[in-house]
């Protein structure tokens, strides 16, 4: 059983409620059962290993029948993921995994559907499918491994690479402004948007659990280090010395604080509204303490994170605290989780109500259908 962090988000209607569970009294599953017999072939030190291990350890927590779990991927290093899990899976074509998963999830209520994708797969070649999956809110969880580089094609810049990046295809520096995957997903009105880190097993597992429990499309951006083509891209948010000032953890219902703790173990930074821009900004709490130096006075001025806010504007504003260049600052956690009807539930409901209203056997109804209303008989 994995350990989890309380992210402060209560479960709404469950993403897995229509998926068959293990029989009562059946022995608990193990991570090993979810491990296929295929040799894992990522580069040594790749962040994908940590994510794979976390997912393999986490899946038993769901208590679902293994045959009812499906992983779909596109193309890229991370998209080999399904081969390493002993569930049903499809390693598809570049960028199209969300569309294939949409077909699977809509056709079958009893399946727990996952998409594994990368920054190139999801945001470049498959950008259209991603935003439309989020808009439709199909019940599935998308794990977007963001290493900010193209790995499988050997080191070209990706749609999340910082501008000016020197790569094989941009010897004088890339000219593209990067996407922020969380901002993009919030702009597409995704119902669940989160960000986590490959190396923080505890946080990663907590986010996976919340994402799987969410009914609708859950987008989870996972910062993932590529040791070959973009090593160190996430050092500032991972190194013990810098991470406290770099990571802004989001906890539903809590003021947004971070920073190296002071002598009283209180956070030293926080996020407040910025009336001058309509957005939010990070500040030193010392500047908010007021004359009496009271920490609570500062906390009272901070944004209290509300993942359930139906209006995504504040979540979007918080997502803009992410550096678009080298990553020195980034919020992590669940940015948004709201419940709205899913495409697949509604599609099935339309079919069910039509079937309930239709008399007779399919064969009889087919006869009626193809005859139509204007027939004539030749004897």
């Amino acid at each position: 059983m994995s350990t989890t962090t309380d992210l402060g988000v209560p479960a709404l209607r469950s993403g897995t409620e229509s998926v068959p569970t293990l029989d009562a009294g059946a022995p608990a599953q193990t991570g090993k059962e979810f491990t296929s017999d295929q040799e894992v072939r990522w580069c040594p030190g790749c962040g994908d290993y940590a994510v794979l291990k976390a997912v393999q350890s986490f899946l038993p927590d769901l208590g679902l029948r293994r045959e009812n779990i499906v992983f779909v991927s596109g193309i890229g290093c991370s998209s080999r993921f399904p081969y390493y899990l002993d569930t049903y899976g499809m390693h598809s074509i570049h960028g199209r995994a969300p569309s294939i998963a949409t077909g699977i999830a809509t056709a079958r209520e009893d399946l727990n559907v996952w998409v594994v994708t990368g920054d190139g797969d999801a945001l470049s070649i498959g950008g259209n499918h991603l935003i439309h999956a989020l808009r439709r809110n199909v019940n599935m969880t998308i794990l977007l491994f963001n290493n900010r580089i193209y790995g499988l094609t050997k080191g070209q810049y990706s749609p999340t690479s910082e501008a000016g990046k020197i790569t094989k295809s941009t010897p004088m520096g890339s000219l593209d402004h990067p996407f922020n995957p969380v901002s993009l997903a919030l702009g597409a009105e995704a119902s669940f948007v989160a960000r986590t880190i490959d190396s923080d097993r505890k946080h990663l597992t907590s986010v996976l659990a919340a994402a799987a429990a969410h009914r609708g499309t859950s987008l989870v951006e996972i910062y993932q280090n590529c040791p070959i083509f973009n090593d160190g891209a996430f050092d500032a948010i991972k190194d013990r010395d810098t991470k406290d000032n770099a990571l802004i953890p989001l906890v539903h219902g809590q003021p947004v604080t971070y920073g190296v703790p002071d002598a009283d173990n209180n956070p030293t930074k926080g996020v407040i509204r910025d009336p001058s821009t309509g957005g939010v900004k990070a500040v030193d709490l010392a500047d908010l303490h007021g004359e009496d130096g009271d920490h609570q006075t500062a906390l009272d001025q901070l944004i209290v994170h509300d993942a359930h806010n139906p209006d995504p504007s504040t979540a979007f504003a918080i997502s803009r605290l992410t550096d678009s260049g080298y990553l020195n600052t980034s919020p992590i956690g669940i940015f948004r989780q709201v419940q709205r009807p899913t495409y697949d539930d509604q599609a099935r409901a339309q079919i069910r109500s039509s079937q309930d209203a239709a008399p007779g056997t399919p064969t009889d109804r087919l006869t009626t259908l193809i005859n139509g209303t204007d027939t004539w008989t030749v004897v």
């Binding site: 068959p20 296929s36 295929q38 029948r65 293994r66 045959e67 009812n68 779990i69 499906v70 779909v72 991927s73 193309i75 399904p82 081969y83 002993d86 569930t87 049903y88 899976g89 499809m90 390693h91 598809s92 074509i93 570049h94 199209r96 969300p98 569309s99 294939i100 949409t102 077909g103 699977i104 999830a105 809509t106 056709a107 079958r108 009893d110 399946l111 259209n128 499918h129 439309h132 599609a347 339309q350 079919i351 039509s354 079937q355 209203a357 239709a358 399919p362 064969t363 109804r365 087919l366 006869t367 259908l369 193809i370 005859n371 204007d374 027939t375 004539w376 008989t377 030749v378 004897v379």
Partner: protein, 656 residues
Amino acid sequence: MSKQVKQLDRVIIRFAGDSGDGMQLTGDRFTSESAVFGNDLMTLPNFPAEIRAPAGTMAGVSSFQVHFADHDILTAGDAPDVLVAMNPAALRANLGDLPKGATVIVDTHDFTKRNLDKAGYTANPLDSLGDAAPGHPMADFNVHTVDLTGMTVEAVKEYGLSRKDAARAKNMFALGLLSWMYGRPTEGTEAFLAKRFAKVPDIRDANITAFKTGWNYGETTEAFAVQYEIKPAEMTAGTYRNITGNLALSYGLVAAGVQSGLPVFLGSYPITPASDILHELSKHKSFGVTTLQAEDEIAGVGAAIGASFAGSLGVTTTSGPGIALKSEAIGLAVMTELPLLVIDVQRGGPSTGLPTKTEQADLLQAMFGRNGEAPVPIVAPQSPGDCFTAALEAARIAITYRTPVMLLSDGYLANGSEPWKIPEIADLPVIDPDFATTTNHGEGDDAEFWPYLRDEDTLARPWAIPGTPGLEHRIGGLEKGQGHGNISYDPANHDLMVRTRAAKIARIADSLPPLEVDDPSGPPGQGKAKVLVLGWGSTYGPIGAACRRVRRAGYHVAQTHLRHLNPFPHDLGEILARYDKVMVPEMNLGQLALLLRGTYLVDAVGFNQVNGMPIKAADLAEALGTLVAETEGIDLDPAVFSHPTTAPADHEEAPR
């Protein structure tokens, strides 16, 4: 006053007007009346890609041609005997298609200076009709000038409609007039109008009144002295309805779901001329049919592939440009060996091409338009009603052989209609999905599921759907090892898998019936013909009609038609070898001919037309007759097969 009644064996009528004049509806109603009356018929709607091109211009002309007869006919006819023209542009756009002696009924109302200018007329072609000298544009025709609009407005004034709304009923006036001329039953149209405009009683009553007034006008006016009678056609016993290709195709897909027990899942993106199938299937949720209007063509096929993986019958519908976008995903379905129906309602290309016109130029795209050796079976319907059977056949192949199947319809089949003998459901094939439910390799604790362990006869792999315990497996676009299905880069395995995928598609031919060769000059296999004409798809009608002309002129020709373009039926090579010459008429530059030459080393002679319209029987008959004459060493004037000079002889000949 009693009028003269003339017997005719067949008539071709073309209704032409502005895009907003309701010509498609008028044609549809006339067709339904004729179908219910019992004539055999074929229709050819022809409309611009623009929804409402500028009113009164040549670009905005929309037409509907219907050919109906007292005998079995095969085409919508080459040239109309009767043209109904609702404005100057409609007259000018269609006049060139009329044979000498044709009847033209013109609504004179819009023959104003402004509308004549828009149509490009410098002088009113209706002027001085009485003493039309040679060279007058209307000299060759029997012209009836009628103020259809004016009479319509007058007839419906009691309903208090605006002048514009009142004038809109003029198409029903025209329909009433033509219904009188050809003795069509009228109850169906009245019931149709009552239902269609049930919510707007004034409009409903105005349309019904216009329709009846048109009929009465024909009966009472001295301008139309003759009524025509076209007796019902002799047809095989059964229950019939009129049906378009897109509707028949939609019903075929619903039937494929019922006959296989699989839920149908359509992933589609709107595109002319295929969108009707999406619209139609979206109405049939009670059959468990899911329709997803995807964000693009690729997502449409992607969702269908996902649904197939999950145990549905995945279908995607599109036209040629959409196939181009779906190519990579179709390759994925080839590699993962999942059932998938890919419906291509072909239109004029390349690129956006001619969206509302017909063509057969996607055959090679269907055959080869993917990277790698990616064989896909191809099925083509030959008439609107046949789209039903073809859809079921495509589903049979897809499910049995675990493969994507391409179904090539076209714009002519899609929108054209014909009487269709409604099949009994009990006579339809039953398709067994034969899902894998148990491990298939090893025993006891070593028992495993191998997703690429094949059926010995069909070479199909097992289809194990998620939710089946113990059969968890992964598939994908990377090459898989034969049997176990794990990723394999082994050179020998790739060679084996490429050949195996090809062999699997080739084996479909084992399940196909022998080709039927039509040569009435002798018992089967012993006909006298030295020339074979071989087609595929919607050219079936024109080819059959051309063969009738050639035979009627006293010459021999054999005909056969391909439903399966990949694989070819086993006996095709032997049949081709029997004839001195093989002609292949196609609405492309010789795509089937190329495949036949490459496969059978046969010197196929092309007859190729790519003008967006169906091949005309007379044109083909002349080419075919000339080839027959050359082959048989006969010296003849090919004009015996070509356009006669007077109407109504320009009809396809009755069979003999």
